[in-house]
């Protein structure tokens, strides 16, 4: 009989892991908290650095899950994890031969950076809001007009000890560059200013895209973090930053301020980890067994990780890692059961 693996989370990591396990003759079961598959990538407009529509990646994954008749439980929250199964909020126990934690991340709540006035000022939006606007085909100010001057702020809820987010969320820099280019394509005469602390272009094609944004699209990059945003009488946004490359404070008014929100560890990680006997990294993400050969293995036999449960990751990295997770799970099950 096929061995059964419970995958906690039906986002990109969970789906990819499930498909890879299935192809290895293992029976995956996805437990998803939401009412459908897809996770955070659902509703995303286009992906960096290639501007591939997110749906082109996510839809086929979900279609294949259905085609492969992989069992999915929706609206179910996992409250406890062990190597031989998970406990659901309903009190039901779901036995398994191994468990994969693919619980991903939580978007940083921009309200917490009160100084930017998100939720108070109509024309202060997050990078996620912007993706949704682009998906709807309309990026407009609250009064329905087109923005002529836009500021994009990097590191909102990343590298910020004031909100207990010490880590770099990794994907925001390239997202900021991607969104700046998309905005320039939509509004060629608009001025787009990216305010950054460091530009971290770690992936293939990222640095090239950054350069293109600078030179071809004339996106202005200002090294300095916006310290506060305030609404003006005509609903524009006044921002203050230091232009650290000239060593002087800088003040400007923009039509729209986009906050590149970071990736936070899930609040539930702590409780889940304690039921499983796992530990968390200082930033609240699950701690991988080691940083090189055991990146998808946990400290407990039979419990594995996939995707952003262990650290902020791009979709590409998540998908690649999920295949590794499936391979590690397969190896574990073979060693444990078949060789007896």
């Amino acid at each position: 009989m096929a061995k059964r693996v419970v995958i906690v989370g039906g986002g990109a990591a969970g789906m990819q892991t499930a498909l890879e396990l299935k192809s290895r003759g293992i029976e995956p079961v996805i437990v998803e908290r939401d009412i459908e598959l897809g996770g955070k990538a659902r509703g995303w407009h286009k992906l960096f650095p290639s501007f591939t529509p997110a749906g082109d990646i996510m839809r086929p994954l979900a279609d294949r899950i259905r085609a492969e008749r992989i069992r999915c439980f929706y609206g179910q929250e996992v409250t406890a994890i062990s190597s031989d199964g998970v406990m659901l909020r309903s009190g039901e126990r779901m036995p398994a031969d191994a468990v994969v934690i693919a619980t991903g991340f939580t978007l940083f709540d921009a309200h917490r950076k009160q100084e930017y006035g998100y939720g108070l000022y109509d024309n202060v939006i997050t990078s996620v809001d912007l993706e949704r606007m682009m998906n709807s085909g309309k990026v407009l100010l609250a009064d329905g007009s087109e923005p002529r001057r836009i500021a994009i702020l990097h590191c909102v809820g990343s590298r910020d000890e004031k909100v207990c987010q010490k880590h770099c969320s990794k994907v925001c820099c390239i997202t900021g560059v991607k969104q700046a280019i998309e905005l320039k394509e939509m509004f060629p005469t608009a001025d787009v200013f990216n305010f950054y602390m460091d530009i971290r272009m770690f992936g293939p094609g990222y640095e090239e895209l950054y350069r293109e944004a600078q030179q071809r699209y004339n996106v202005h990059f200002v090294r300095g973090r916006i310290s506060e945003a305030a609404e003006t009488i005509n609903k524009r946004i006044q921002i203050k930053a230091e232009d650290t490359l000239t060593g002087r404070p800088l003040k400007m008014t923009v039509d729209m301020l986009v906050l590149l929100v970071g990736m936070s560890a899930n609040y539930e990680n702590e409780a889940l980890a304690s039921t499983a006997g796992l530990s968390l990294a200082p930033n609240g993400y699950f701690k991988a067994n080691d940083s090189f050969l055991g990146v998808v293995r946990s400290e407990r036999e039979g419990i594995f990780f996939a995707g952003a449960a262990t650290a902020p990751k791009s979709l590409a990295d998540t998908l690649a890692e999920a295949a590794l997770t499936a391979s590690m799970v397969d190896e574990y099950l073979k060693n444990r059961y078949n060789e007896k």
């Binding site: 030179q215 232009d243 000239t246 002087r248 404070p249 800088l250 003040k251």
Partner: protein
């Protein structure tokens, strides 16, 4: 009318004012040589600068300020450049910094 001497005046704001700065010259410079926007602020130009070694000339800072519409004194400052071209050799983004010095001077001649 009284002539009051308070012994002090209202200090001028130091902030770069991107709302009131005239960005037309800056836009013209960027339009003519868009590669200037590709600067990543590494400071290699200033580090290797012949003039910067003996005066406070700082090309990185100067062209950044010019891009923000801060033109005052830029022309005079650029007179310190010896046009040796070392900055162009070291620029990791391949910006023709030497030509940039000439371009900014040409555009800001009347400032």
């Amino acid at each position: 009318m009284r002539n009051l001497n308070f012994g002090y005046g209202i200090s001028r704001p130091r902030a770069i004012d991107m709302d009131n700065n005239d960005l037309r010259k800056s836009n013209a410079i960027i339009h003519e040589m868009p590669e200037l926007q590709a600067c990543i602020g590494c400071g290699s130009c200033t580090a290797s600068c012949t003039a910067g070694g003996i005066t406070d000339f700082n090309f990185r800072k100067l062209h950044t300020a010019v891009r923000r519409g801060e033109y005052r004194g830029a022309y005079e400052e650029l007179n310190k450049c010896m046009l040796c071209g070392k900055c162009r050799l070291v620029c990791p983004r391949g910006i023709n910094t030497r030509a940039m010095v000439m371009l900014i001077k040409r555009k800001l001649g009347d400032y």
